[in-house]
């Protein structure tokens, strides 16, 4: 599709979509959002890029193969579940660390649950792009 307006708009929009996807991923635990939604939004950014500018350019911009990203995501999700074994808990029991927590403030919460959500994000992101790029190159 050769539209200068779409091309110009896309350069800004896809970046914003990516940023927004990370925001949705991180806020997911307390507000609407999460890894699945984040991954879909992130993928939308690159799908838009591929439509406006071209699949080959989108691949270059992504740097990694989307199927590899999905595989890495699945690995991360698996590891986050296995991590519970280090603490003697059952598979996929969430492990939490509250950085700088005080009596009144819980500080910065870090958890294997977040790691798992990042894995989900990467799987969805990578899988959708695997499909989308292949379809667009097919045309």
């Amino acid at each position: 599709m050769n539209s200068i307006i779409l091309r110009a708009g896309t350069r800004a929009l896809s970046g914003l979509l990516l940023l927004f996807s990370v925001y949705m991923l991180l806020r997911g635990h307390n507000e609407p959002g999460g890894g699945f939604i984040g991954g879909l939004i992130g993928a939308t950014g690159f799908v838009l890029y591929a439509i406006a500018i071209g699949p080959a350019e989108a691949r270059t911009a992504l740097r990694a193969q989307p199927q590899n990203i999905a595989a890495v995501g699945l690995g991360i999700a698996l590891l986050s579940g296995l991590a519970a074994a280090l603490f003697g808990d059952a598979f996929f029991t969430g492990q939490w660390l509250f950085l700088g927590a005080t009596e009144t403030d819980k500080g910065l919460p870090l958890s294997t649950v977040l790691v798992f959500d990042i894995g989900v994000y990467l799987v969805v992101f990578g899988s959708v792009l695997t499909l989308a790029f292949a379809m667009e190159e097919e045309i």
Partner: protein, 765 residues
């Protein structure tokens, strides 16, 4: 034998071939060390639980019967391994061969020692698979592949019946342990399911032991290397069916069904196979058919109950294993030395191959049933056992007389003629004596046949009596093995056998020609097998063409039609219909959204533009997402919106390649599709309404609402469920997402590549 011819100077394959030989020998020694206590009437049982909830355990029982088999398997196994080490030396795939053969031997040992039906079945199938690999060892030839597949199909099909029979038997008897089942005595024979169980189990045993009419795979299995034939197709695997019948003998025998099935199948197989044996000109094929004869005889004997028949079974089992393995290995030596196995060509080998000749003579005399060999004792006992048959002694003894006389003639053809008669033509190689590792087996086995014949008491105490005890529960009825029992009917029959056999041997040329003509005229089982397979393939092709049209529309129509019929049919059968829905929650917003959805759906259905259809379908999806928002499910709504967007974008990309909707003549499909769509919609709506009629169970909702923050530190319950409470489910789902993505990618790549290749070919023209 291409494998043997390519020996290439190496005398042996080294440790990789000797290790299994050592293993077998060690096992043999261990089993032999158990013999004294088993002979005293003890049994040894070990068990590990495997799947206790299913009554499956890995239990092993050593008694007289299983010990006899275990000794034959490990003992002959050791000699065969030693033999193959030289026979196949230098073969590029020798390691594979040694692995298969070792795996086979262990599976076979497991089979005869297993005390649990399911464990026995697993080992049974392991022998099927390993024997498939061994028969197909020469997989470069079409014949080798066909023979291997045929053996696999026939025995595999029988094994399926066997499994069904075992399961029925296990549930009928209330236990899967053979020792417990057989301890129940006659209860089984009176059970209503006795006959179905018997038929299923015999189907397994008859296919494995190649009883008529399942006999045809065994001669073809001779495509395997000769040591394999000696091991699998004479001494061990084909006897698995016989073993099973013997194992079940205490619980199953004595009924008319058992007696007549085994007697008739066994007798017919024995006579038919010995006639076929005489017809063969290939020594190995002739031996293959004599194996069939032996299996038939063993089956026939197992049909009976008398002490004579059981003693004859135990003795002939051992006799046959000894002489048949010896003869097979001897034929391998001849093949190795001369390059041919054709009876017509071979002759005058006695001078060049004296040791082979010696072994062959001993083994053949045992096979022909001359005193003082064990074969003679075996033959006397067979006659005594046949005469002790209550119902039809003349028929049984007559069948045995015919089979034994033919056996005598075949022994002459296989082991006398090649050594002592003049050669029929030039041999491919000048004959030379085989090296000692190849002679050890045949000589040792043949000598054992003579030793046991001279000292039958040795065999009686250690193996025959304990085996009879396993079959009859007591050794009281076991008959004494003796060379001279006085002038009695069996001896007279023996003399008649020799006379008739000699006549058959002298006339075997004309007989063979007559048989060959008869066989050519009669429809062959082997050709029938090919026709059966062709028919199966044609049927598969026909039903694939019928069902797999390749038209996506047809598939979708069929899928939804099935859903409609299934759901509506169930509702009609159960007589449940939803009450009128409660519309009190409806307000102008929901009504507007529903109107939007319906409009989108209608436009999708009637438009002739694909892009319009896609976009209006998107409207439907977005309308649904809005409903989710209205009812307070923002996560679901966001996901729905995103998925809808992506689907529309991707579909739009794909649409560029698709033709216009509704080519002329296709439009008349729409009324049909509309009816189906309305039907599916109505049924799904009815089901949703029915679901809503049941009161909402709030237990899970309450739990997640209260536990989400204190236990998982999250306020978004949906996400907390996804990533914490039910993280394992989510993991499975994302794995599916990834697999789906990869599968679609692979599909698209394949199509793209195919198009490129076609394009290149087009340019080439």
């Amino acid at each position: 034998m291409g494998a043997a011819a390519s020996t290439g100077g190496k005398a042996s394959a080294g440790w990789i071939g000797l290790a299994p030989a050592a293993l077998s020998a060690a096992l043999f020694v261990w089993f032999a060390s158990l013999a004294p206590s088993i002979a005293d009437g003890e049994t040894l049982r070990v068990a590990w639980s495997w799947a206790p909830s299913l009554g499956v355990s890995l239990s092993f029982l050593v008694d007289g019967l299983s010990l006899t088999f275990a000794l034959l398997i490990s003992g002959i196994g050791a000699l065969v391994f030693l033999y193959s080490n030289t026979y196949l030396a230098g073969h590029p795939q020798f390691g594979r061969f040694a692995l298969f053969l070792t795996a086979f031997m262990l599976a076979m040992l497991g089979l005869v020692l297993a005390d649990n039906l399911i464990a026995l079945f697993v080992f049974w199938e392991l022998t099927t698979v390993t024997s498939y690999l061994l028969i197909g060892f020469g997989h470069e030839t079409a014949k080798g592949r066909r023979s291997a597949l045929q053996a696999l199909f026939v025995t595999g099909a029988g094994a399926l019946a066997l499994l069904a029979g075992f399961i029925l038997l296990g549930f009928t008897a209330g236990s899967f342990e053979l020792s417990e089942i057989l301890a129940q005595g006659d209860a089984l024979k009176d059970h209503a399911l006795y006959l179905p169980i018997l038929i299923l189990i015999l189907a397994g045993a008859f296919t494995k032991s190649a009883q008529f009419p399942f006999h045809f795979w065994l001669p073809n299995a001779m495509a395997a290397p000769t040591p394999v034939s000696a091991f699998l197709h004479s001494a061990t695997m084909v006897k698995a069916g016989v073993y099973l019948m013997a194992r079940l003998h205490p619980g199953f025998s004595g009924t008319d069904a058992w007696l007549w099935t085994l007697t008739v199948a066994g007798a017919f197989t024995a006579v038919f196979a010995s006639l076929m044996a005489l017809r063969q000109t290939d020594l190995k094929q002739a031996l293959a058919y004599t194996t069939l004869m032996a299996l038939g005889t063993l089956t026939l004997l197992l049909g009976q109950d008398s002490g004579y028949a059981m003693t004859a079974f135990a003795t002939f089992l051992i006799v046959h294993s000894l002489y048949k393995a010896s003869l097979f290995l001897m034929v391998g030596c001849i093949d190795h030395a001369t390059g041919t196995r054709e009876a017509g060509l071979l002759g005058g080998l006695a001078r060049a191959m004296p040791v082979t000749c010696f072994a062959a003579a001993l083994a053949a005399l045992s096979m022909a049933g001359f005193p003082p060999f064990l074969g003679f004792i075996g033959k006397e006992l067979k006659y005594a056992g046949a005469l002790a048959v209550g119902s039809e002694p003349i028929l049984v003894a007559g069948a045995m007389l015919a089979a034994n006389a033919l056996m005598f003639a075949v022994a002459g053809v296989v082991a006398f003629k090649p050594f002592w008669r003049p050669a029929g033509g030039p041999l491919p190689h000048a004959p030379h004596e085989a090296p000692w590792p190849m002679l050890a087996g045949p000589v040792l086995l043949a000598v054992l046949g003579a030793v046991f014949g001279l000292y039958p008491d040795l065999l009686q105490r250690t193996l025959v009596d304990p085996t009879v005890a396993s079959l009859l529960g007591t050794t009281e009825d076991a008959k004494t093995l003796q060379l001279w029992a006085g002038v009695n009917l069996p001896l007279i029959l023996s003399v008649a056998t020799v006379a008739l056999g000699l006549a058959l041997y002298l006339a075997h040329g004309p007989i063979r020609a007559a048989l060959a003509r008869a066989v050519e005229a009669a429809p062959g089982f082997d050709a029938g097998w090919d026709r059966f397979l062709d028919g199966l393939k044609a049927f598969a092709a026909w039903q694939t063409r019928l069902i797999q049209t390749g038209v996506l529309r047809t598939y979708i129509f069929a899928t939804f039609a099935t859903v409609l019929v299934g759901l509506a049919g169930t509702m009609a059968a159960k007589g449940v219909w939803p009450a009128a829905p409660d519309l009190s929650l409806a307000n102008w917003r929901t009504v507007a959204l529903v109107a939007l959805i319906v409009a989108g759906a209608l436009l999708t259905a009637v438009t002739t533009s694909r892009i319009a259809a896609m976009a209006s379908l998107g409207v439907v999806g977005i309308g649904v997402a809005m409903i989710f928002i209205t009812f307070g499910a923002p996560d679901v709504a966001i996901t729905q919106l995103l998925v809808e967007t992506l689907v529309v974008v991707l579909a739009a990309v794909a649409l560029l390649r698709l033709p216009v909707l509704d080519k002329p003549g296709e439009r008349d499909r729409r009324p049909r599709d509309a009816v189906l769509a309305l039907g599916v919609g109505a049924v799904v709506t009815a089901i949703l309404l029915l679901v809503l009629e049941t009161p909402l169970d709030r237990r899970l909702t309450d739990f997640f609402e209260t536990a989400s923050w204190p236990e998982a530190y999250g306020r978004n319950i949906v996400n907390v469920i996804l990533v914490d409470f039910r993280a394992l489910d989510t993991f499975g789902e994302v794995a599916v997402v990834m697999i789906a993505g990869l599968a679609a990618y692979a599909l698209l790549r394949t199509t793209a590549e195919r198009r490129e290749t076609t394009a290149e070919k087009g340019e080439g023209k």
